[in-house]
Structures are given as structure tokens and as C-alpha cells.
Amino acid sequence: MKKAGIIMIIGSLLLLGLFKFPLWNIMLGAPQYPEPLGMDIYIEGIKGVQEFDIQNIDGINHYIGMQKIPKPEAMWEFRIFPLVIGGMAALGVIIGILGFFGKINYWGVLGWLVLMFVLGVLGMYDFNTWLTDYGTNLDPRAIMKMTNPDGTPMSYKPPLFGHQKMLNFDVDSFPSLGAYLMFAGMLLTLVAFFIGKKEWKQIKSR
């Protein structure tokens, strides 16, 4: 299972890209913002695309009573995510090495992938919960109280994925480079699984 082990190691190491590149990106454009405001969501915190974007997004959001964008220390996620990603990368490398030396079969690779997938879904769920809270938990003293046609308070939850028109803003929410590296890594581990399966069978049949 040499080839599979190597691919597994490369795949899990790609997760480390998340320490350098953002996982997700949300851009807010409006006529008076010809250069859209944007936030990059990293596993360790949220940063503006441009130096003062966070301050300016907070400034706009205060009209409708949204909370300020949280600092890294304000959310447990930004402490846990780096540990989870680091841990999964390390685990993947260990599985890869064990696989390389034939100490573990292809089910180990699949197990890692399933665990990663579950964690990813949990992460997305958590992210969506935060977006919902951010977009709907509004200050009751908000300067502007916008309602839907049915009278319910308007939600400012940014889309989890894709484009949405929100008052005068066009909001775009898409995965960013770190996420693509992670997807590529997961895809590689899937490849490792199939190659490993083949290699393992060859060893068995010998």
C-alpha cells in the first residue's frame, strides 16, 4: 500500500493550507462601495479583505442592529478549529505512514475520510448557526427596523453558499483557497482509499 500511503500523506498535509489561507469568503458590494467590503473567515478568526473592511462592515451593520464581527477570542470555534484541523492532518499522516508500511489496511483511510466528512458537516452546521445568530439576533434599539411583507423582522443572515441580495447590498459567500485545498486533500484521500484497496488485494492475492 505504498502509493496509497504517500497519496494519503499528501492529502492530509493539504489541510495545513487552512492555517495560511481563508476557509470562506463573504463579499458585500453596493453602489456606494465600488470596491466591495469583504471578510475572510480563517480557522483562527475573521479578517477583512482590505485593512479596514471589518470596521466598515460593523459601521454599516449598526444601523440595523447587527452585532459586531467577533474577535478571535470571542468564539470557542477559533480555538478548537486549529486543533481539529491540526489533529486530522497529523492523524492522516500517521495513517498514511502505517499504510505505507502495510500496518493498516484501506479501511483506515476510509475511516479518516468519514471522520473528516462528519467533522466538516458539523463545522458547516456550526458556521450556519453563527451566521443565523449574526443575521437575526438584532439589537432591539436598532436604528432601522426592516420587516418582511408579512410583518416579521427581516433577517440579515448572509447565505451559507452563493449570492443573495440584501437591501442595497449584493452578498456573495463562497469557499476560499483554504477550503479548496482541504477539498483537494479529501479527494486525494478518497483516491488513496481506492488505490489502497487495489494494492491491498494484490498483496493478499500474492
Partner: protein
């Protein structure tokens, strides 16, 4: 004597009228098909950017205005020598020192000739310099912030007209005096002008990194009037040329008495030679008193320093550095072509243009072919240095610029036209009427080694019927010509503010990327800045009260202040906490005896208010900053002088 004035006046009037009649016929004949074609050429679609910046001086407005070419749209008015209530320049405590002089606070000047800094003879777009004519000053405007960042007063000068022009690498910006005056100033009979008055030509060095200006030396020339100037370039780099009039040294009725000599001079100054002499300890320092005002972008504050001496050089002490080139008839502009070979003297009382050759000038100097001297300064032989004449090109030539393709463009004031001619052959190629009475012409980079010869802008002194009438007072007008073809084509004319005396143009691409969007709050080193809302406070020091105030969409912190008394001097130090492009806030206080403040993101500005009446007085934001702009306001309670109400302030706690 009186009779001769009348004759001259009627002669000029006749010539002027004749010129205008001529123009009207041409003007009518030119409208129609051309107009629609021109519209396309100047059309810049909404949201698109112009190709060039044009910095047009405001003349008697004391400022500099920024336009786009080819659209003719005005983008900004940059206050330089004049108080400007729009943003509080010259009213705020931080900028008042910019207008300090040896005569005290002077909130106005007559700004004439902008010139953009150069590197190797090419426009580099770092700074633009402009002269104050009336109370001699040179200002520097930073082209990152488009704000005036330095003003230096020029002593021993009066009517600082032959400036501000920069040398090939911005080593120097010059300030030549139009009026000769006693040096040092003294109480003496005006009749003793001749031989006793001096003309100071000041060479102001510019530090390459910071742009900091410093008067390196002043050349004390004979008491002529020094009208305009131009640096040499290329082969003539190291020389500076100044036109003179009144070489007669008359002191009364100059209209007649300064127009007697058939030829006046272009003074050729080898500044490198004088610089070397000065660097070796030459010249002598004399007492002087002049202000040097510097604005700092980090402290957002100007400081004014009174300088106490200046180094003067007698031209006779540096042999081989100064020569006089005879030039007919009271030359106004002097312009050097991009190659540096031709020095063109525009004799304003003639119909011809005089083209001197730099090579011939050097040759005559080396062979000591002199035709006498003036106060010991050698005069060269007219025929020895003359390269040629542009014959009968028009009436009253003033200024020449170049397109970099071998053509020169000269304005003619009396015949009110722009004339294109070939620099080598001196043949007139084309002429276009100007509406009306044109002064300077500007081609972007047209006075540098590398002109961008696509457009020419002529700046007119008279507007008459060009726009809807606005009573007796009209704005002046500028005209835009397409000069990319063989014939010039009038594309547009647009009104300009003040007197559009001269202009400097530059491709937008050279400077627009460097244009600053905000001031970083983190770099704000203003002594009274409130960098966080927690720094907002009010402090009393005797009868002085300092309010450290912050502003952000859409409130001031604090917004209610009590404990101010009649007779207090209240300093509002206000810091704009926005860090977003184009989100300034304004501040205006009822009864303040000055102006508003317009405070850019990250900036701190200070307004002084001396309340004279008991009451509760509002202040508010003057710039429509947000949906809640009208809510951006606050109150100051003013109590009687004897009151013992404690200072207090608040925000948002009812």
C-alpha cells in the same frame, strides 16, 4: 507725455478690436459639423476617468484647481495661499500657521504658475509647486493627498512672478522677483530706484526624499523687472533663463517708460556654477526675516518657523555664471524646447518670436564675444546667439509650449490666438482664434523634456459671451484643443475659477494610483487626538477648555457638554474615526467666528470657539455623511462667567 499714452492706447485698442472682429467671423464659420465631432472627443462616460489631470492655477483666488482632460470637469479646489471655508484650511488651528509670513497672517495671495516635479526632465508626479505673487511665497502640494504641505516665504523679493519652475531633477524651484526693491528694505526716495534697487532671483533647493524646501541662495541682480523663467534641460541643464523688462529702470509710468528699449534681456544663469561657489563657502549671509511653514501628515499640524538669514550672491563674484541675452521687445515668456537647444523669447510688444540657440550662446561666451555690460554683467551680441525668428506670427506673443513632435504652440494676447509653428524651420503651420485674450497655453508635460502632445489648453483672460451671463462678474474660460493632427481642433471650452493663469498637466496614470484614500488613525500623532472613544474628554486649563471629541457615523462623542462659561476659549479637537474612503465629517459651531471644519477619515482638526452669550448652543455635522446625518449633533451649555457649574460631558445616558 499724455499724448503719447493716448496714441499707444488707441493703437492697442484698434489692434484688439480688429483681432476680435476677425475672430467672430472665424468662430461662426467653424461651428456645425465640427461641434458634433468634438463632443465625442471630450465625452467621458459616467464613471469613466479622464486621461489627464490638469492643475489650473486660481490666480487671484490664491488656490489651485484640479480638472480632468478632455472632459473639462473640475474635481477639486486645493487651497494654497487663501483661507478656504469649505474645509477650514487657514481657519483651523492646525492650518493657520501655513499662512504665516513676516508680515503676519496673510490669508490670500495671487497664485500663478504651477509646475510638477521632475526626474530626468520627465514629470514624476510627486509634488506640484506654485508661487504666491503678492507676498512672495512658494508652496508645495503633495500629490498623494492633494494638500498644501509646505510654504516658504521669499525675502528681498516683491511680486514673485518668475516662478515657480523646477529644474530637470527638481534640484531647485526658482522664485524670481518681478519688482526690484531696496535690499535690504529701507526708507528711501523712490526716485533713487535706478542703480539702487535690486532684483533677487532665489534658488530654493528641494530635498529629494522629503521635498523639504530651503532657500539655498539668492542672486542679487540689477534692478530690472524679472518677468518669467524657465530651466534649461538636456544640454542646457544647469542653466536657468529669466526674461526681463524695464531694463530702462524706470520707476514711474512704466507703460511708457519701460517700453522704450528696443531690446530687453533674457538673463542666463549658470546655477550649477553658483551652486559650486556657494558649496565652497561663497556668498554672504545677510539678515532676513521670512516664514517657513511645514505641514505634517502624521501630526496633522503645521508649524511656522521664522528664518533669520539668507545667503546672497553678487553675480560679479562668480565670473562666467551670469550673462544677458538681448531679446526684443519686452519679452514676457521664455521657453526652452524639449531638446534644451532653443530658448524662445516672446516679445510681448512685437509680432515676432525670437529663437536663441544655446549652442551659439555657449560659443559666444567661450569666445568672449560681448557687446558691453550692464552693471558688470556681460551682454552677448544679439546676432551671435540668434538662431532665427518666427516672423509675423501674430500680435503680442506671450508663452510657448511644445508637443514633443517638433512643434511649438505660442499664445498671442493681442491677436487672441494660438499659433502652431515648426521649431526647426520656424514656419507657421496653423493658427486658431482664442475666446478671448489668451495668456498661457498648457500641453501636459509641455514644458518638460517629454511632452504628452495630445491636447493643448489655452487660458483666457476675457469670457464675454461664451456662457450664460452671470451679471458683470464672469468666471474666466479655458479652451481645449486637440493637437494630435496637423491642424488644431477646438474641442471644448469650460469656465475656470479665479484667474486660470497657468496650468500643469500630467497623464492620470502617473499619479492616480498613489492618491491616498484615508489617513490611518493608527498613524495619527496629533497632540490632541482622541484615538479611541475612551479618550473623549473635556479638560479645563484656566479659561481654556479643550474638548477631545470623536466622530463616526452618526454621532459625536461627547454630544452634550456643560460647564462652559462666557469668556472661555473652547478648543474643539475633533478626530474622525472613519477609515473608509470619502467619508469625511463636518463640524460647525453656532457663533464661532471662523468657519466649519471638514475632517478626513483618521484626521484630527481643531476649531476655536469663544462663546459670548449664555445659553445652550448646538453644533452639528455639515457633511451629509449617512442616513442619520441630521441626527449627528450635540449641545454646549454656556453659563455666566461667575457660574460654578462643574465641567461635565456625556453621550447616550439619559
Amino acid at each position: 507725455m499724455k499724448k503719447s499714452i493716448k496714441i499707444i492706447a488707441s493703437l492697442l485698442l484698434t489692434i484688439g478690436l480688429f483681432g476680435c472682429d476677425n475672430d467672430n467671423k472665424k468662430k461662426d464659420g467653424n461651428r456645425g459639423a465640427l461641434a458634433s465631432n468634438a463632443a465625442e472627443k471630450v465625452y467621458v462616460a459616467p464613471g469613466d476617468h479622464d486621461e489627464f489631470y490638469a492643475f489650473i492655477s486660481g490666480g487671484y483666488s490664491g488656490n489651485l484647481t484640479v480638472y480632468g482632460l478632455p472632459s473639462g470637469r473640475m474635481f477639486k479646489e486645493i487651497p494654497v495661499f487663501s483661507q478656504f471655508p469649505t474645509n477650514g484650511y487657514g481657519y483651523s488651528e492646525e492650518t493657520k500657521p501655513m499662512l504665516n509670513t513676516s508680515h503676519g497672517f496673510i490669508p490670500w495671495d495671487d497664485s500663478h504658475h504651477p509646475d510638477i516635479s521632475q526626474t530626468s526632465g520627465k514629470l514624476d508626479g510627486r509634488w506640484i509647486f506654485i508661487n504666491g505673487n503678492n507676498t512672495p511665497r512658494i508652496a508645495k502640494i503633495d500629490l498623494k493627498t492633494f494638500e498644501t504641505t509646505e510654504i516658504i516665504e521669499v525675502p528681498n523679493s516683491a511680486g514673485n512672478h518668475s516662478s515657480s519652475f523646477v529644474t530637470e531633477n527638481t534640484e531647485y524651484v526658482v522664485a524670481g522677483t518681478r519688482f526690484s526693491v531696496p535690499v535690504p528694505q529701507q526708507d528711501m526716495p523712490i526716485k533713487e530706484y535706478k542703480g539702487k534697487f535690486k532684483g533677487a532671483l532665489s534658488f530654493i533647493s528641494v530635498a529629494p526624499e522629503t521635498g523639504r524646501m530651503n532657500i539655498k541662495f539668492q542672486l542679487l541682480m540689477p534692478g530690472f523687472n524679472y518677468d518669467l523663467a524657465h530651466p534649461g534641460r538636456g544640454k542646457s541643464h544647469g542653466w536657468f533663463f529669466f526674461t526681463t523688462y524695464n531694463t530702462e529702470e524706470a520707476n514711474s509710468l512704466l507703460e511708457v517708460n519701460a517700453s522704450q528699449n528696443d531690446k530687453d534681456f533674457i538673463a542666463a544663469i549658470n546655477w550649477k556654477k553658483i551652486e559650486e561657489y556657494v558649496n565652497n563657502g561663497g556668498g554672504k549671509t545677510m539678515p532676513a526675516n521670512y516664514a517657513h511653514n511645514v505641514y505634517d501628515d502624521e501630526t496633522h499640524n503645521a508649524t511656522s518657523t521664522m528664518m533669520k538669514e539668507v545667503l546672497v550672491v553678487d553675480p560679479l563674484e562668480v565670473p562666467g555664471a551670469v550673462f544677458l541675452l538681448p531679446t526684443p521687445k519686452s519679452p514676457h515668456g521664455v521657453d526652452v524646447d524639449p531638446s534644451g537647444e532653443y530658448i524662445i523669447g516672446n516679445g510681448k510688444l512685437s509680432a515676432d518670436l525670437t529663437v536663441h540657440s544655446f549652442t551659439k550662446m555657449i560659443d559666444a561666451i567661450e569666445n568672449k564675444k560681448f557687446d558691453g555690460d550692464a552693471y558688470g554683467i556681460p551682454i552677448l551680441n544679439f546676432e551671435d546667439i540668434l538662431s532665427g525668428t518666427v516672423k509675423q506670427a501674430g500680435l503680442g506673443p506671450l508663452h510657448t509650449e511644445f508637443d514633443g513632435k517638433g512643434n511649438a504652440y505660442t499664445t498671442f494676447f493681442i491677436s487672441s490666438e494660438l499659433v502652431k509653428w515648426d521649431v526647426e524651420t520656424r514656419e507657421v503651420i496653423d493658427r486658431k482664434p482664442n475666446y478671448y485674450s489668451v495668456g498661457h497655453v498648457m500641453i501636459p508635460g509641455g514644458n518638460s523634456a517629454e511632452p504628452f502632445g495630445k491636447y493643448a489648453v489655452s487660458m483666457n483672460k476675457i469670457t464675454k459671451d461664451r456662457y450664460l451671463p452671470t451679471g458683470p462678474e464672469l468666471e474666466h474660460s479655458a479652451q481645449l484643443f486637440d493637437i494630435s493632427g496637423e491642424k488644431m481642433e477646438l474641442l471644448l471650452d469650460f469656465p475656470t475659477h479665479g484667474e486660470p493663469h497657468y496650468a500643469a498637466g500630467i497623464p492620470a496614470s502617473i499619479i492616480k494610483e498613489n492618491s491616498q484614500k484615508i489617513f490611518k488613525l493608527a498613524e495619527n500623532k496629533h497632540e490632541y487626538a482622541a484615538l479611541s472613544v475612551n479618550d473623549a474628554k473635556v479638560e479645563r486649563d484656566g479659561n481654556e477648555v479643550h474638548v477631545y471629541m470623536t466622530m463616526i457615523r452618526s454621532h459625536f462623542t461627547p454630544d452634550n457638554i456643560e460647564g462652559i462659561k462666557v469668556g472661555d476659549k473652547v478648543y474643539f479637537h475633533i478626530t474622525n474615526h472613519e477609515q473608509d474612503f470619502d467619508v469625511p465629517h463636518g463640524f460647525a459651531m453656532i457663533g464661532a467666528n471662523n468657519s466649519e471644519l471638514l475632517i478626513m477619515p483618521g484626521q484630527t482638526k481643531t476649531l476655536v470657539w469663544e462663546p459670548k452669550q449664555v445659553g445652550v448652543w448646538p453644533f452639528y455635522c455639515t457633511d451629509f455623511c449617512s442616513a442619520l446625518h441630521q441626527e449627528m449633533q450635540g449641545y454646549v451649555r454656556v453659563s455666566p462667567k461667575s457660574s460654578n457649574i462643574e465641567l461635565s460631558w456625556s453621550l447616550g445616558d439619559d
